[in-house]
């Protein structure tokens, strides 16, 4: 049985969550600053909400579960998409999983023998700990997490430094260069951070390094 949008608040409260309905973005931001917000649900403007909420994950409620609507919400920055077609249990589990991303830290990310665990604060190659700074590790985590796709510099900045990147700021490039140098020194050729000029960076892990596992 599906969940009517008007009953979402009631359902979450019944499941033991503390829920607060807010009318404007500023109010959501204030609530987020209290430090007690695990996740946010919105019916519109996930991108703006995410910008205001920093690392807090945002789920988007779409009125109908069409492929288009879900894809649009994800493209607009949603971390999760909820719709009336979901049963109560699925909806609660999905929101719970979303909340765990912030309260327990994101799960570790892996690319072949390369593993980055933000919770434990370590990056390893074949189980051997890599000597990286926290920032470098966070940058690497973001690159590993997206599974070889290019990550825009602005996105990396937001994910690692928690703010919007000012135009012209080379902070990401400096940190990627250092990370690249350290990976080259500690791992060598199997792992490379490739540059997509004017866009961002992506991680490439040699196929034989992956299959050798």
């Amino acid at each position: 049985m599906g969940v009517a949008p008007g009953r979402l608040l009631e359902l979450l409260e019944a499941a033991g969550h503390a829920v607060r309905a807010v009318g404007v973005l500023g109010e959501a931001e204030l609530a987020a600053r209290s430090g007690h917000v695990d996740a946010a649900v919105t019916a519109s403007e996930p991108e703006q909400l995410k910008r205001r909420l920093g690392t807090i994950p945002v789920a988007v409620w779409v009125p109908a579960a069409s492929t288009e609507a879900v894809a649009d919400a994800l493209a607009a920055g949603a971390d999760e998409v909820l719709h009336p077609g979901m049963g109560r249990r699925e909806l609660l589990e999905r929101l719970g999983a979303l909340a765990r991303r912030v309260s327990g830290g994101e799960p570790s990310a892996e690319a072949g023998p390369l593993r980055v665990d933000r919770e434990r604060g370590e990056a390893t190659w074949h189980g051997r700990r890599l000597a990286l700074t926290a920032r470098e590790r966070d940058v690497l985590h973001e690159l590993v997490r997206v599974d070889g796709r290019t990550v825009r510099r602005e996105h990396l900045y937001r994910a690692v430094w928690g703010y919007a990147m000012a135009r012209g700021d080379r902070t990401v490039d400096v940190n990627v260069k250092r990370l690249r140098d350290k990976l080259a020194a500690q791992i060598g050729n199997p792992v490379a951070i490739e540059t997509e000029p004017g866009v961002g960076y992506r991680l490439a892990v040699a196929a034989d390094a992956v299959t050798a596992l």
Partner: protein, 206 residues
């Protein structure tokens, strides 16, 4: 202070030429610092040394001015020019120092662009100061410095605007880079003030 009757005008020319060289070198090193941070090959101490050298040159010009009965140009014009050139080195030193004070750990494209304009403007200033005896080519340098100052203004405006394009830029980034952009702009503006002072001399002595 004793005034001497034997003119030592050559010394004025030499001192201004040295002031031009020091100013340009300080700008050149500062540009390297802004481009290479955080792993720059140029510590701020090297820029500071040039600033100290610039102060010493300015002091020598003033001393010469106070002891010479005959000067190559109006005393006021010499004073204004020496002061204006000294200000440029001070502003360059200030901008370079901000990199350390604010612990800036990555370049900003707009600041590097400002530095390039500053290097060109001080190169023209050095050329003009080295040509005070003949005044040959001085007018062209003044025109070029004015053009560079306009370009510097445009870059500075765009640079400051870039900090406010997104309301979620870190306050730390905004504070430190706004100060740096303004310091570099003061240095470029200072070149134009010095160029004006050269222009006053050129008009009276053409």
């Amino acid at each position: 202070m004793k005034l001497t009757l034997i003119p030592r005008t050559t010394e004025f020319y030499d001192l201004f030429a040295s002031a031009g060289r020091v100013t340009h070198e300080a700008a050149r090193l500062t540009e390297i610092r802004f481009r290479e941070i955080p792993d720059t090959t140029v510590p701020h101490a090297r820029v500071k040394e040039l600033e100290t050298e610039g102060d010493a040159i300015t002091r020598q010009i003033f001393e010469l001015l106070n002891t010479q009965y005959v000067t190559p140009f109006d005393r006021e014009d010499i004073y204004d020019l020496a002061r204006a050139v000294d200000d440029v080195v001070d502003f360059v030193d200030e901008a370079s120092d901000l990199l350390d004070i604010y612990k800036i750990d990555a370049p900003m494209d707009q600041a590097v662009a400002q530095c390039r304009v500053l290097v060109e403007a001080t190169a023209e200033l050095e050329r003009a100061l080295g040509s005070l005896r003949s005044l040959n080519g001085v007018h062209d340098s003044i025109v070029e410095i004015k053009r560079l100052e306009d370009e510097g203004d445009r870059i500075a405006r765009d640079a400051i605007a870039s900090l406010f394009e997104d309301e979620d830029v870190s306050p730390r980034t905004m504070i430190r880079w706004k100060d740096v952009f303004e310091a570099l702009e003061r240095a470029i503006d200072g070149c134009e003030t010095a160029a004006h002072a050269v222009g006053n001399i050129a008009v009276k002595n053409a």
